[in-house]
Amino acid sequence: MESLFGARQTRVRPLLLGLTLASCVLLGIEKAGVGWLLPVRSVLATVVVPVQYVAEAPYRVIDHLAEFFSTRERLMRRNTALERELLLMKAETARTDAISAENDRLRELFNSRARLPDDVLIAELIEVIPDATRQEIVVDKGGTHGVAVGQAVIDSTGVFGQVVEITPLTSRILLVTDPSHAIPVQVIRSKVFAIASGGGRGPNLLDDPPVTTDIEVGDELVSSGLGRRFPRDYPVGVVTQVVKDPTQPYAQVMWEPSAALTRSRDVLVVLGERRDEEQPEDGPEAVAETEA
């Protein structure tokens, strides 16, 4: 290869043809989805990490400045509020622990596996993919931190998305609102199962629920865990609009994500269930597992 920005003249037209061919080969490999280019991508991605940090720096600086310039009084007030919230949360956790212990005992009675808590990893946003038709972000944790493709990503309020690509230091996350994303959900109130698709910049819809489905505005959707990609029972969204036309076979149901997709800087990557030594046993979930 000639040196980058070197001063040598080259015959341009055959070169352009060659480069077009090279691009076509690369794009063909990408389209085939065989993953041959992953090592190349990993190396290049590691090189551009500083750029991502620099581009994200102004937002970090603004956050830090806001902290720096907040008054002592305001900090104290905020601290008190947080302590109070912590206390409430602790009480709530204690209660939840008791309930989940009871739940596990009941599940044992039904001969199904006790649900295990999930291991999570805190990751920070370093880039929003600059394409208006895509809803993807890059976070600062990657393969070396134990992140793997397919892991679910949540924030404090709900399901954020899933990991679609990892490099050693970063990983790319597809948000639940991306047009190519869909997540199996369950309506808490009526226990109906559905699939929630992303709508990009348009409205997010449920995938063709029959017009007779019991679903109303304000219904909460949680991940159903079917497909084994997302852990179950995390909030996914809230139904905002239901259009039921009796002449149509399907209802049109719009939903809004629960997670603060455009405001969260810190997200949690769910590394998987904390599997100590327990093996999955027979039960309703074993069926889903074999299907997946």
């Binding site: 190349v40 290049l44 750029v51 991502q52 620099v54 929003v128 038709t133």
Partner: protein, 173 residues
């Protein structure tokens, strides 16, 4: 004092283009996301016209790989787009360097239009949603920011001696 005979300025301008390419605009109004300029095309076109002996399709293609990874696009796509932009710049360099910046802007508009069409078509083939606004917005934005890019880089070029300059910039003392 002047590493790479001024080539560092080309590198710095490309890193600047990378940073701008991923700068977040969510804080602004909603329509701003559709008007993201293709900074790489603007910068590479400028260097293609002013220093055609140093920036060619080959270097543009390699630079494109880094942009592809940065914006999580398919490898090779930005490369061929940038190679096309520098090819046009190199091919018509003598004429283009006599053009005023506004005439160059019109050329950039045409090049950006072709590039955005190619980009969105390839992305569509790779199962990413097609959108006419995603072609029009960046095309328009790239043409609009080109005079600014050209102005800033011309000022920088007058401060730093970059080897291989041609046209008016090359003749400047």
């Amino acid at each position: 004092m002047n590493p790479l005979h001024g080539g560092w300025l080309i590198l710095v301008s490309l890193v600047g283009a990378m940073i701008l390419a991923v700068a977040r605009v969510e804080a602004g109004p909603d329509w701003l996301v559709w008007l993201r300029p293709d900074w790489a095309v603007a910068v590479m076109f400028f260097w293609g016209v002013t220093t055609p002996s140093r920036v060619g399709p080959m270097s543009a293609w390699v630079v494109g790989l880094f942009f592809d990874v940065l914006v999580a696009g398919p490898l090779g796509l930005t490369g061929i787009c940038l190679a096309f932009a520098t090819y046009i710049a190199k091919r018509f360099e003598e004429r283009l360097s006599l053009y005023t910046v506004w005439q160059q802007m019109a050329v950039v508009f045409a090049i950006a239009a072709v590039i955005q069409m190619v980009k969105r078509t390839v992305l569509f083939l790779l199962d990413i949603e097609w959108s006419a606004w995603a072609v029009l917005g960046p095309t328009l934005a790239t043409a609009l920011v080109y005079p600014l890019v050209a102005l800033l880089l011309s000022i920088a070029v007058q401060r730093v001696h970059v080897q291989g300059l041609t046209g008016q910039l090359g003749r400047a003392p």
